[in-house]
Each structure stands twice: as C-alpha cells, then as structure tokens.
C-alpha cells in the first residue's frame, strides 16, 4: 500500500514535469527570436512562497496510525538564495514486531536553499540544494511490547521458546523529549500554473542532540523520521505552494547592453 501510493505520487510528479518541459521548449523558440530584448528586460520576481506537504497529507488518509501536516515556506533573498522553513506536526503509531508506540510532536526546520538552475526569462523554477537546522519537541507513549525471550535451550525437545510469548501493555508516557538535527536537502520546484508550484525534495538528516527517555528510545522523531536505519535519517516531501509576489527586480539592467547581451545569452542561457 505504502509502496504503491509512493509510486503513484512519483508518476504524477513525472507527468507534471512533462508539461513543464514542453513549456520550456516553446520558450526556447521564442527566445531565439528576441534574445537581446528579453535578457535586457528579464525581471526576477521576489516574494514569499507558502505551501503544504502533500506526502504527509495523503499519508494521513491512507496509512492507519499516521496523522501529519507540514507547512512549507520560502522567501527569496537573492537571485539564487532562498530562506526556507518547514513547520510540522505528527502523530504516528508504530506497530513493530516487538514494540508498539505512539510518537506525538511538533517540529520546525529553518535554513537556506540554493537554486542551481538557470531559469529562462522570468521563470522561477528551482533545482536546489539546501541545509536546515531541525528541532522537534515530542512525547512517546509505549503502548505494548512483547518480551524477547531466549528460552530455546539447545538439545531441547521444543524448537521454540520454552514459554509462550508474553506481551505487556504498560501505556507508559515519556514526555518532554526533544531532538536537534541537521538536514541536507535536494529538490526541485516547478511552476505549474501562474504562482502555483509543485515541489519535491529528499532529505538526509543527522542527529545533533537526542534526548532519549529513560528505559526506552526515540525510534521515531517527528520531522526527523526513523532513527534506526544507520546513522542518517531520510525524509521526503512533495509540496504544493503558492507564490505571493512582493516585488520585482531587474536582472542586472545596467550591465546589459545589447552588445554584451548577445554572447551572454549564447553561453549561459
């Protein structure tokens, strides 16, 4: 179920990219005709982009035990650098073979994105790399666990443990937990319609501080995700966001004279 929906989301994203690519091709044709003019006139839009993570939103519907919401936002600082943030809240009931626990908490990530993609004209698409500082406060509730017994003594007539499995239901709350981490982000954002962006990002996290409960562990941290698959945590988001244009900046208008513009357009753009 999880795998299928992830795949479908990927397909949807690919489909949307297809339409984006076509848009680009059309602009290429137009560009060859009016290169000088467009470079001289190209404007960069600055503003605030706010949105929601579709991955956590849809997961809340299809996966029992998961309820999560993540708001995303970024603000353009310079031509290539954006201040970026994610704010989220997650309630996640994990039912493993051995332990059943519920993690509840809020997280905030703040950092920067660097847009490595050279846009045509005044487009605002991004292929970016970024870094975040992440912080989460949360609680864990240990719902149940099955004691790991080791009573399969060699040479015995039985092939299993001598005693039956014993599951306990402590319902113990571990409150006031927190974690800090650093997150490396790679992603893209494409303008589907005017001011509407669809984004996708993957994240690698590494914990800086992890305040664990006495007698248990933080197996899942809101915003960070699983803590047990090696030293890095991983995450993704698919964001749908709206761009609120605040002001426009001419793209180096003084430097661009018709003579300079032509070779520049050939090499860079």
């Amino acid at each position: 179920m999880k795998r299928t929906s992830g795949f479908i989301t990927s397909l949807l994203l690919l489909a949307s990219l297809g339409s984006w690519a076509q848009q680009d091709v059309q602009l290429t044709n137009a560009d060859t005709v009016t290169t000088k003019f467009s470079v001289a006139q190209s404007e960069q839009r600055y503003g605030l982009r706010v949105g929601i993570d579709l991955h956590r939103l849809t997961r809340s519907f299809y996966e029992d035990g998961f309820r999560g919401l993540e708001l995303v936002g970024d603000y353009r600082l310079t031509k290539k650098i954006y201040a970026a943030t994610e704010l989220g809240n997650v309630t996640f009931n994990v039912q493993d073979d051995r332990v059943d626990f519920t993690t509840k908490g809020t997280y905030l990530k703040i950092g920067f994105d660097y847009n490595a993609y050279e846009n045509w004209l005044d487009m605002n698409n991004m292929i970016y790399f970024g870094v975040r500082y992440g912080f989460s406060t949360f609680s864990q509730r240990l719902n149940a666990y099955t004691v790991y017994q080791n009573s399969d003594i060699s040479d015995s007539d039985t092939t299993d443990n001598y005693f039956d499995d014993v599951t306990r239901y402590p319902g113990q709350d571990y409150k006031g937990l927190s974690a800090h981490w650093v997150e490396f982000v790679g992603g893209m954002k494409a303008e589907l319609f005017s001011n509407i962006f669809l984004g996708f990002s993957v994240r690698l996290n590494t914990l800086l501080v992890n305040k664990k409960p006495v007698g248990f562990d933080n197996l899942y941290i809101p915003g960070f995700n699983r803590t047990y698959d090696g030293s890095f945590g991983v995450g993704v988001n698919y964001s749908l966001s709206y761009f609120i244009p605040l002001y426009k900046k001419q793209n180096k208008p003084k430097e661009v004279t018709p003579k300079e513009a032509a070779p520049k357009a050939k090499s860079g753009r």
Binding site: G6, D96, V147, Y148, S151, I153, N161, F163, Y228
Partner: protein, 172 residues
C-alpha cells in the same frame, strides 16, 4: 535541459526508493536478551567440587515439554517465567541402580523472584531480568521438594542479568 531532466529523474528515483523501502531487521544473534538462570551442579559430599550430571532432563511442573541436555555437563540453563513471580521446575535424573535397573528420580525446585523489564533495541524489543528473592527463615528460596537425588539448593548470585555466571548451586 538534458542535465536538468536527468537530475530531476534521479531525485524522483531516490525519493521513491526512500519512501518505499523499509528495513526489516531482526534481533541479532548474541544480543543480550532475557537471560536464563544458570544452575551448577555440585557434589553434596565435597561441596567445592562440580559434579557433572548425565542424562539430565527438566521441565516445568505440569508441562509436557522437557528440556534434555545431551552432553554430560555440570551447568544447565533454566528459563524463568517472565509473566510470573515464581516457577517450579522438575529435575529428572536417569541412572541405573546396582541391580541393573533403570531408575528415574524427579525432584522439584521452586524459584521465587521479581522481574524487571529493560529496553534492548527496536529489533529485540524488551528483555526481562530477574532478581531471586533472598532466602528467609519461614520463606525459603529456592524451595526444594522431595530429595530422591537432590540434596540442597543455594543462591550464589541473586541478580540474573546475563548467562555469564552461576546463579544457583544444586548439590546432589
């Protein structure tokens, strides 16, 4: 443009992989989980000397499953119940009498203890460790019932945290 599509494709593939794969780890062999009680058999006439037992079999009173130790050994691993403060094991000793008759002697020992659960890891979950109750006058622990072959039981180390040391001495 090609490079752009390529990098986007790569991102999508990495992302799809990340959400779909879930590592299924199992509790590694050798991880200290719920320990068994280590009992050692000593010579009742010469209390400092081990006395290996041949054909030792043991079972929880009222249960069919029997643990049999193949080799002749002076120690045995005895599991304790994690869901009960006591367990009564029957120890069966098979031997041949002087007249060539095959004899089966069974004596029971009840062990009383308190349990404590400790977190190990995600794959192993929790383990239970035990502390044997002190033997008090009027509330002896362990309790030896019958003495067809077993003579005495003494606690050597009440804290059952691992299987590295002897917890109980049985004299016969």
């Amino acid at each position: 443009m090609k490079r752009f599509i390529g990098s986007v494709l790569l991102l999508v593939i990495i992302g799809a992989y990340m959400i779909s794969c879930e590592k299924d780890d199992i509790c590694a062999e050798g991880t200290p989980t719920t320990p068994n009680m280590v009992v050692a058999f000593y010579n009742d006439e010469n209390r400092g000397a081990y006395k290996p037992v041949a054909n030792l079999k043991y079972f929880v009173e009222g249960q069919q499953d029997t643990i049999s130790v193949g080799q002749v050994d002076s120690t045995a691993l005895v599991p304790l119940r994690v869901d009960s403060p006591s367990v009564k094991w029957g120890f069966k000793y098979t031997h041949t009498s002087d007249t060539g008759q095959k004899l089966e002697d069974i004596d029971y020992i009840e062990f009383k203890y308190v349990t404590r659960d400790e977190y190990v890891s995600r794959a192993c979950g929790f383990k239970t460790v035990f502390t044997l109750n002190s033997s008090l006058p009027g509330n002896v622990n362990p309790v030896l019932t019958g003495s067809t072959w077993l003579k005495d039981v003494q606690i050597e180390n009440p804290e059952i945290l691992n299987e590295d040391e002897t917890h109980v001495r049985i004299y016969y």
